[in-house]
Each structure stands twice: as C-alpha cells, then as structure tokens.
C-alpha cells in the first residue's frame, strides 16, 4: 500500500478544536453513551472503532448536534454547542458530515447539490447585511448614528458565481466534472459518496465527520472513496471517522478510540492500539475483525 505522510502540523498541536466533556446520551431508557470525554485537536485524524451498536454513530452525531446530548457538553472552538443560545446552524457550517448512505439531495443535480448550502448561506448573509443597512438608515432618519456606516459587501451574482466555480473545482478534483449536470440517481455508490464528500467540503469546513463512509459500498468502490479521504488527511484536514476498515484506520489515524458499552475503552495511537491492545474487549474485537 502507498505510504502516506499524514501531517499533524506541529505548530497547532495543542489547539483543541472539539472538546467532549462527560457526554452521555440516552434514547428513552437505553443509555447509549455513558460519559465520554476526549479532545480533538486541530489536524488530528481520530478514528472511532467498536462493535455494532456500541454508540459510535451516536457519539459522532452528538459532535454536530444531529443528536442532542442528554448530559455533558460538546465544545467547538471553545464554544459550547449544546448550550441554550448557541446558533447551531452557524457552527455546522464549519463542520462537514458524510453519511453512510450518502444522502445526496435527490431533487437536485450534482452541481446543485454542491452549490445549495454555499448559495443559501451566502444569500442569507446578504439579506442580513441589507437588513442592517436598512436599520441604520431608519435610525439616521431620526438623527441617530449619523457617522456610522454599514456596507453591503456581498452580491447575489458573485455568490452564485463563486459557488459554481468552487463546485466545479471540487468536482474536477475528484474527476467527476462531467457528472455536474446529472441527477445523483444515475451515479454509482462510489461516485455518490465522493460527491457527498465534496458537497461538505464546499462549505470550507474546519473538521470533517465521517460515519462509516464506505459501509454501503460495493467492495470495488471502497478504494476510490478512501483515496479521497486520504487526500484530505494529507492536506491537513481535522477528521473524526467511524469505520470498520481497520487497514484504513491504521494508515490514516493519528489516534484511535475503541468504544464499547458506551464508554471509551481504549484511546491510543494506531500502532499502539492495534499492535499492543490492553483492553480485553478490544483484543476480542480485533481478533474478530482483523
């Protein structure tokens, strides 16, 4: 297998991006996560492994609040996400998520899939700027804030154009430029997942969350998707990846978490965790999957 140099840029080593503090999550009476604490630093590639039903997806989904934690806290760049007045949408714009079943928007063509979020969010910011300007003008009408100035810096046409160019560039990067104008239903699983990845990248996220990105793929398509993820890793992207691909985990991870019975049973660099597992359940798990 091809040797990869995974950067974990030394200068930003201790910059905590995601902080998970004593997180628990219950579905009714079923406590799935029983107190998880760990930090994800900038540039880290954290791989989460564990038996089926151990709460890996639940943990990942708590990170961008797709699931609301029952107790504990999740911080993103120092801000608590599960606090009352947090604007979760604003934070999610910086956290990409890739799903097991791709979840491309069926009603939109490939390029529209990629452009949707950048355009919608750009237009929203534009509306906000315009509203600010209007507010100031009304105020000035009554003689207040005479010397203040609000500028509308955004422009609808530029927002669309930038989103389009960016989408095309991303498609080019994964070699699917010629699929820009088709519906997702005409694509293979591997193509869909690669597009799902660049759709998330179109928002320029600071961290990418992957939930078993290759589990729903035919074996011959796993490679092309892992290749895209590896490229991202080499590029320095911070990532949290739930996967059953142990080879991939060994190759890409800077740290591996073994989750079982709702807690982190082992947390170590891949060499150590795979080479010298300490937890009994982890040994059992590895003997089954390796």
């Amino acid at each position: 297998m091809q040797e990869l140099e995974i950067k974990q840029s030394a200068s930003t080593d201790d910059q905590v991006m995601l902080k998970i503090d004593n997180l628990t999550k219950s579905f009714g009476n079923n406590q799935v996560l029983k107190g998880i604490s760990t930090d994800v630093c900038k540039g880290e590639k954290v791989v989460i492994i564990g038996p089926s039903g151990s709460g890996k997806s639940t943990l990942l989904r708590c990170l961008n609040l797709m699931e609301t934690p029952t107790s504990g806290a999740v911080y993103f760049n120092g801000e608590q996400l599960n606090a009352k007045n947090t604007d979760i949408n604003a934070h999610r714009q910086h956290m990409g998520m890739v799903f097991q079943h791709f979840n491309l928007f069926n009603n939109l063509t490939v390029i529209e899939n990629i452009m949707l979020a950048p355009v919608k969010i750009g237009l929203k910011q534009l509306r906000k700027q315009k509203a600010e300007l209007l507010k100031l003008k009304i105020k000035q009408l009554f003689g207040k804030d005479k010397d203040k100035e609000v500028k509308v810096t955004l422009n609808k046409r530029v927002i669309y154009k930038q989103a389009m160019d960016n989408a095309m560039q991303l498609l080019d990067r994964i070699g699917l430029k010629d699929k820009a104008t088709v519906y997702p239903s005409t694509l293979s699983g591997g193509q869909k997942q690669r597009i799902a990845i660049v759709r998330a990248l179109a928002m320029n996220p600071q961290v990418m969350l992957f939930d078993e990105p290759t589990s729903a793929l035919d074996p011959e398509m796993v490679g092309e998707v892992l290749e895209v993820i590896k490229e991202l890793a080499v590029g320095g992207m911070t990532m949290v990846i739930v996967t059953h691909e142990m080879g991939f985990a060994k190759e890409v991870a800077t740290r591996v978490l073994f989750i079982d019975e709702g807690i982190i049973k082992e947390d170590a660099p891949p060499k150590e965790l795979f080479g010298n597992p300490k937890d009994e359940r982890l040994k059992e798990f590895l003997s089954k999957v390796l």
Binding site: R92, F99, N107, I111, A117, K120, M203
Partner: protein, 270 residues
C-alpha cells in the same frame, strides 16, 4: 332527434351560452382560488405539525392545527359554506366568490395538509439530516430539499383533491352564486328551455372536459417530477443536462454583466 337539436339550441343561443360561460368562469375562479389558498394553508399546517415533533415551542400552534383539521374533516362542506355565507361573512355586498374561495380554500387546506404531511414523512430522514449538517436552517432544508420531493410523492393525491374540489364547488349554487351547475338550472327553468335534462348534460360535458384536461396535465407533471428517479431515459437525461447547463450559463452571464457594470461605474467615477 330532439336531444341533439336541444343541444344545438343551447350552443347557438347567445343568452344561454353567456350563462354557461359566466358560470364556467365562476367555477374556475372559485376552484383555482380555493386550490391556491388550500395549498398555502395546507403547507403551513403540515410544516407546523411536522416541526412540532422536534420543537416544543410549536405545541400550541400544533393544537390549533389539529382542531382545525378535526373540525373541517368532521363537518359537511355545505354546512361550512352556509356558516361562512350566512353567519361569518353575512355582510351586505360582500362578494360571494370570495366567500366561496375562503370556504373551499379553508376546507381543502385541511385535506392538503394531511396529504402533504404524509408526503413529507415519506421523504428519507437522511435528506433532512444532510441539509441540516451543512448548516442550513430547518425551514431552508424543508423548502429546498424535502418539500420538492414530498410534492412529487403527493401529486396523485393532490390531483384527486383538486378534482374533488372542482366538483364540490357546485354547491355554491346553494348560496346563490351562479356557477356552471347553477347556469344549467337557469337555462333549464320554465321561462327558458323548460327542460333540465339537456342543459345539465351540456354542463356535465364541461365538467368532464375540465377533469380530463386536469388529469392529463397532472400525469405530465408527475412524470416530469419523477425525472430525478432511477430509470431515467437518455432523452430525459439530456434534457436535464441541457437545463442545468443553461442555469450555469445564466449564472456566468449575470456575473459577467455585473462585472462589466462595476467597471463602467468606476470609470465614470474617475
């Protein structure tokens, strides 16, 4: 034969035909107005009911929606029309068309809401999750992703609702509004043709024609909306491709125009 002679008489008598045309106009105006209002109301109610599942603040609006749906579906539409015409909107010179549009719109809204809600629930939750994970608000996700797919799923049910609505509007004659059905009654009265059968037949053909055209349009629409589904023909694929390409070209053209306009602006400034 007398029957065909009588039909010919109706079609050639401008007085009779003017009743039919104005009746047809009323039927169409009331139906379309009510359908539009029903669609709006139904969408609002469906979205409130769906959103209420995850948002506690919407508890009260949800209860109001449930009461609305319960009352509308639990009482006859004729009674609803009477209540509107003879009680709530019993205002002198208040246009009956508006009364009818409001009645049937509010009535239809309850059924549309339930149809749409079922349609929205049938859209894979992963679609919503993908939208929300990108930082889109729940309303943007709903409008840009979920509802377009839900509509595709509910087009057949909506078509039936619209067809039922058009036929149902015939009861407006009970409050004195001259629609297509009432027109037949006027033409058939003793001072005109003194025969109800033939004018009723003529009007029946009009209703049939409307329903037939509508069925045809809906079928086309349904097929168009299914373009994004699995087995898409090459011809359709080429069409989609052309349409999207056009969209992208438009974005480029608008941008170029904008850049050019900015350039001339700054030149003028100098």
């Amino acid at each position: 034969m007398d029957f065909f002679k009588d039909i010919g008489k109706i079609l050639s008598t401008s007085e009779y035909m003017s009743y039919i045309w104005s009746g047809l106009k009323t039927t169409l105006i009331v139906s379309l107005g009510a359908a539009a209002l029903g669609m709006l109301l139904g969408m609002l109610v469906a979205v409130i009911k769906i959103s209420a599942q995850s948002n506690k603040k919407l508890k009260v609006p949800e209860i109001i929606c449930n009461i609305y749906i319960g009352i509308i579906r639990g009482t006859p539409v004729a009674l609803q029309l009477f209540i509107m015409a003879f009680a709530i909107l019993a205002i002198r010179n208040f246009p009956l068309e508006i009364t009818a549009i409001l009645t049937f719109g509010i009535n239809s809204g309850a059924y549309v809401a339930e149809n749409l809600r079922a349609g929205i629930m049938s859209v894979d939750i992963g679609q919503t999750e993908a939208g929300r994970s990108l930082g889109l608000s729940s309303s943007t996700t709903m409008m840009s992703v979920v509802i377009p797919q839900a509509i595709k799923n509910v087009i057949p049910a909506m078509g039936n609702e619209l067809i039922a609505l058009i036929k149902e509007t015939s009861i407006v004659s009970m409050v004195g509004l001259i629609d297509l059905t009432f027109a037949a009654k006027i033409i058939g009265a003793g001072d005109k043709m003194a025969d109800y059968f033939v004018p009723m037949m003529v009007v029946a053909i009009f209703y049939l024609a409307i329903v037939y055209i509508l069925t045809f349009v809906l079928r086309k629409l349904e097929r168009k909306l299914r373009e994004s589904e699995q087995h898409i023909s090459d011809k359709k694929a080429a069409k989609v491709q052309a349409k999207t390409t056009k969209k992208l070209n438009r974005i480029q053209a608008r941008y170029d125009k904008y850049v050019a306009s900015v350039k001339t602006d700054t030149q003028e400034d100098m």
